[in-house]
Point group: C2
Chain length 283, copies 2
């Protein structure tokens, strides 16, 4: 927890000046948070591969290179679950050509124990430290058991808003994982959280100990009808969200998952990264 380190008791200029002239302050002491800046950012900007689900991996990587983004959460349409060691090695080599590191895998939906096994083994072979997963509720005890075999992997459950009958928002995921292995947490999809009527800023503060990854997007509305839009044009409060990432010391990835105009998302991706970079510097 870094937050307490950045809080201090501050009487303010008033108190200092009063002390200087020998007066007792008649203003109350108050606890005030120091304004954070970009220097306090511990997170990295990245991309969720779903953004490119209609494109090949070369197009995805070239786009990230153009946007000066260096981390990708790999989806299985670009690196299948049954990939050989050689195929995985070739995939990483290709990423490296574009200055990109595949930092995680998923989302991987699992409906059976065998699929859970396969997903963990895939994650290990890929060398990812994080798997975004969507296990059926009844598989959670098995995931909790299985993760103990993989001490280097964090399991981040993806939340998906009002469109699905499970993991609708951060609170739902929290309730499901809070008593499980501490390496089982969530991929906070701020768009779907917002579409479920939740407040991603407040949720990050409440649940940050189990937030291992993020899907970053903006939404036209905080209802089921809300749709993805270029960052900054929608209703999510990104400056507040960035300040909260600093406050809770979030040091993971912020993966843009851009879901507008998916057959031609490139301009929207670029605009969104431009916006997000400025917010990360100025909020």
């Amino acid at each position: 927890m870094k937050i307490n380190r950045r809080l201090f008791i501050k009487t303010g200029l008033a108190g200092a000046a009063l002390a200087a002239v020998g007066c007792k302050p008649n203003v109350e002491e108050k606890q005030e948070e120091v304004k954070t800046t970009a220097a306090d950012n511990k997170f990295h900007l990245s991309c969720a591969d779903w953004t490119f689900h209609l494109f090949d991996i070369d197009t995805a990587l070239k786009t990230l290179q153009q946007c000066d983004i260096h981390y990708l959460c790999i989806k299985d349409f670009h690196l299948p679950l049954d990939s050989t060691e050689e195929q995985i090695k070739a995939f990483h080599a290709k990423c490296a050509e574009f200055g990109v590191t595949g930092y995680g895998v998923g989302p991987i939906y699992v409906n059976t124990k065998e699929e859970v096994d396969k997903a963990f083994e895939y994650t290990r072979k890929v060398g990812a430290k994080i798997m975004i997963g969507v296990p059926k509720y009844e598989l959670l005890p098995y995931v909790d058991e299985k993760i103990k075999e993989y001490p280097e992997i964090k399991y981040a459950i993806h939340l998906h808003g009002p469109d699905q009958d499970q993991y609708q928002d951060a609170t739902v995921v929290w309730e499901k994982v809070k008593d499980l292995d501490p390496r089982i947490g969530m991929c906070l999809d701020i768009g779907h959280d917002f579409r479920n009527g939740a407040d991603p800023v407040a949720d990050l503060e409440k649940y940050h100990t189990r937030v291992f990854d993020m899907h970053i997007k903006d939404e036209t509305d905080n209802t089921k009808d809300g749709t993805c839009i270029e960052l900054g044009r929608g209703k999510i409060d990104f400056p507040a969200f960035v300040r909260m990432m600093r406050k809770v010391g979030y040091d993971g990835m912020c993966s843009l998952e851009y879901e507008k105009d998916m057959d031609n998302p490139f301009m929207g991706i670029a605009e969104s990264y431009g916006y997000l970079k400025a917010v990360c510097n100025l909020a």
Copy 2:
């Protein structure tokens, strides 16, 4: 001048608290500027058509529509100087289809009195309230005479950095125009100003009474070797520039002129607008 309205004498919390307990303050009164916000922005984001000099007008307009930008400074390769009234009407109609207004024309280089005449007549026919111009120095007295025939037009001289032997930066333009008609001023190209070793923020403060238009870009360096780069990735201090636009009450256009990868500038344009929008909101 809006600036004085937004300055106020402030003794600070210290003074207020000291007064409350009947102590004389031992801290100096100081003049402090109130922090401005996006609500104080009087300018609009726009685009300099040179950005699209390798593309047709439809591509330019579609790009601006995608970026949610609604103003264009028209270059003659998209609307020639000898256009008929009908062609001009058709051009404006096409812009309107994409939600774009052609607010100005230029830059128009002029080397003879006849060219000055033609440029003013073109601007009038187009219905633009501003012409970006580059007149040879010896034509300035003629421009000063001619502008009196066009009371609705402002003439903004484009500055072009160390690559040219005239109008290198804002100071050079200022010296040339300060005694001419008050409607002769400059298009502050912050990239070229910066490449000439000048400080665009300081120059805007000094010369704002004659800054009628702007070309917005970022640069890799403040020398002749500096090249255009996506906004936010270079060395220009955009937050300071935006705050200065507010401080001087700049109410004109901020036209992005993107000059990197000109054969495929689209991602850079989008990233730059995303960045600029966030800075305009947060600086």
